[in-house]
């Protein structure tokens, strides 16, 4: 029974790693599309990708709004979307952006964002939330939300004085957009009026006017160009931008880099889980061989009632394979119940949605390889039993 369980665990691990890998990869590739360049303060390209697209980590530096406007007006630039990060709402990131975001931003196969209900933000204190934010926090249109300063999920400084009102809820996208609360750039500024750094100013209460809602800086921006051919030229222009150090990256290449970085870990995990499978099979072999001596009598009895060597070997191999099949089935049960249980947690914490799908060809292949391996493993005790039985005949001299 322990053998079945160890096989089950190894199968669950192996297929689990594979499922995470496949889904992570596709969810990765689908996170952003249609954007030609991502621009932020000079740092690493992966870091820029992480905070601007995946909302993971924080920017080291902001870029000035003026540089943004300057680049946005360059020839060949079709559209730009500013991104201003740094605040959060109950663990979800708040992103300041422009209204273009809802019409221009694309993910997956050139899909734009759609509203499940409501509409995009109009006023300064309007907010549009992603589907997961709405689901997890159970928000509806018209609800008031208070944004916390900083990005920790347990931030103590809150912009209590300026609550936002939800104006729209986006449809599920399977991307970090689902976990984002979108407000206008002016909204971000409005929150921070009368703030000095991370601390609320004691006295002053400046009125909210058009003038002081103009942002001084943003975190990053996305760029769409008229022609893809111009993207290298534009990238060089931005990277050599005179008035401040900027970095422009191609999302596709950065995604690929990031994936490569992670796939080392994925491959290591896959190799480890293969070794776990191997260990389980070895364990099964050990148990099977250890039990063989006690079964010499059984083999002798079977021989005496007319069983051939083939029967005996078949019996032992069948036993090993059946144990493995039981292990695989239990492993699949473990895997799917595990996915079912962990699904919301993984999606909330890592933004990775792992659907419960039937095993794909590759996974079935793994299972077949495992079955074949168990057959081969079963040959060993079968051969030993054959040897024993040759020496014992029908009677055990014990």
């Amino acid at each position: 029974m322990l053998t079945i369980f160890s096989i089950a665990m190894s199968v669950a691990l192996l297929l689990g790693v594979e499922k995470v890998r496949v889904n992570a990869q596709s969810s990765f590739a689908n996170t952003i599309s249609g954007t030609d360049l991502i621009v932020g303060a000079r740092s690493g390209s992966i870091q820029l990708l992480l905070y601007s697209v995946f909302r993971i980590g924080d920017a080291t530096n902001n870029i000035s709004f003026q540089s943004y406007q300057d680049i946005a007006q360059q020839k060949g630039v079709k559209w730009t979307i500013p991104i201003s990060l740094g605040d959060s709402h109950r663990g979800f990131r708040v992103m300041g952006t422009s209204r273009d975001y809802f019409s221009v931003y694309q993910y997956g196969e050139q899909r734009t964002l759609e509203f499940a209900s409501g509409k995009q933000f109009e006023g300064v204190f309007d907010a549009v939330i992603g589907s997961e934010v709405a689901n997890v926090l159970n928000y509806a249109i018209g609800d008031q939300v208070i944004v916390s300063h900083g990005t920790g999920s347990a931030s103590f400084t809150q912009h209590k004085d300026k609550p936002f009102v939800i104006s729209g809820i986006l449809k599920h996208t399977g991307t970090p957009v689902d976990r984002t609360l979108h407000v206008s750039l002016a909204g971000i500024e409005a929150m921070h009026v009368n703030w000095q750094g991370a601390v609320k100013k004691r006295k002053a209460s400046k009125a909210l006017t058009e003038a002081n809602l103009q942002p001084e800086s943003i975190t990053a921006f996305l760029v769409g160009l008229d022609s893809k051919i111009a993207s290298f030229k534009m990238q060089r222009y931005i990277n050599e931008y005179k008035s401040e150090p900027l970095l422009a990256i191609f999302p596709g290449i950065a995604l690929h880099e990031l994936w490569n970085l992670m796939s080392v870990a994925e491959k290591a995990l896959l190799i480890i889980s293969m070794f776990v499978v191997l260990a389980a099979l070895t364990g099964m072999l050990a148990v099977s061989l250890a039990g063989l001596n006690e079964r010499r009598r059984e083999v002798a009895i079977l021989r005496s009632v007319g069983a051939s060597h083939w029967h005996i070997m078949g019996l032992l191999i069948t036993e090993t394979v059946l144990l493995t099949i039981a292990g695989i089935l239990l492993g699949l049960a473990l895997l799917y119940s595990g996915i079912w249980l962990a699904q919301p947690i993984i999606e909330k914490n890592y933004g990775l949605f792992i659907p419960i799908t039937a095993p794909n060809i590759r996974e079935l292949g793994m299972v077949c390889v495992l079955l074949t391996a168990s057959f081969i493993v079963g040959l060993v005790p079968a051969y030993r039993a054959y040897k024993n039985s040759l020496a014992d005949g029908m009677s055990i001299r014990s």
């Binding site: 007319g306 060597h309 009677s395």
Partner: protein, 241 residues
Amino acid sequence: MIKPASKPTLIDLEGVDFAWHAKAKPTIKSAHLRVEEHEHVFLRGASGSGKSTLLNIIGGIVTPQQGQVNIVGHDFCQLTELQRDKVRANHIGFIFQQFNLIPYLSILENVTLPCRFSKLRRDNAIKRSGSVIEEAIYLLSRLYAKGKFSFDRTTSELSVGQQQRVAAARALIGQPQLIIADEPTSSLDYDAREAFMTLLFDEIKLSGSTLLYVSHDPTHQHLFDSVVDMSVINQHHELEL
């Protein structure tokens, strides 16, 4: 060759030499043995006299390096291993000293085991009782004349005497022509031994099987048609002298 007009011979060993390993001393040397149909033969021999080896040869588990082995009309030296397995399954029922049963199978499953390997014995059982299970229950209830038993229990709860009866039922199911009993009573106490022998003989007479009974203990040899001593069959010991 002219066939003898008398009863057919079930076991015919002639000049059989056998060694378990090519380099080892032969365990069996120039052995000869004839058992005719319906005969009840008592084969007497001390342990180490080559009894077990002889039974393995008769059962077709091993073939001798020298000599003729003819069992139930089959020349074992000419048959393949699989064919010998088939003959054993079809025509021979074995009862051993002890540990005859497969512990994880129920009593009924143990008894019906030979019918899984032999269509002939399965057909015989069905012909006699309608089904293999019915035949097993019939045999068991005869062997357990006094006790009432639920036969789908596991065998681990049975006493040694009861186990031997189950083993006898298994040897008898499907009416194989030849029953070979190897010290079947030596792990039983006196009463159980007497009861077992009576039952065994009753059943063998009923089924008309041939019995080859092997024991070192001459107590029951008066029940048999003929008594053969291992030292007469096997020239091995004389060689050693």
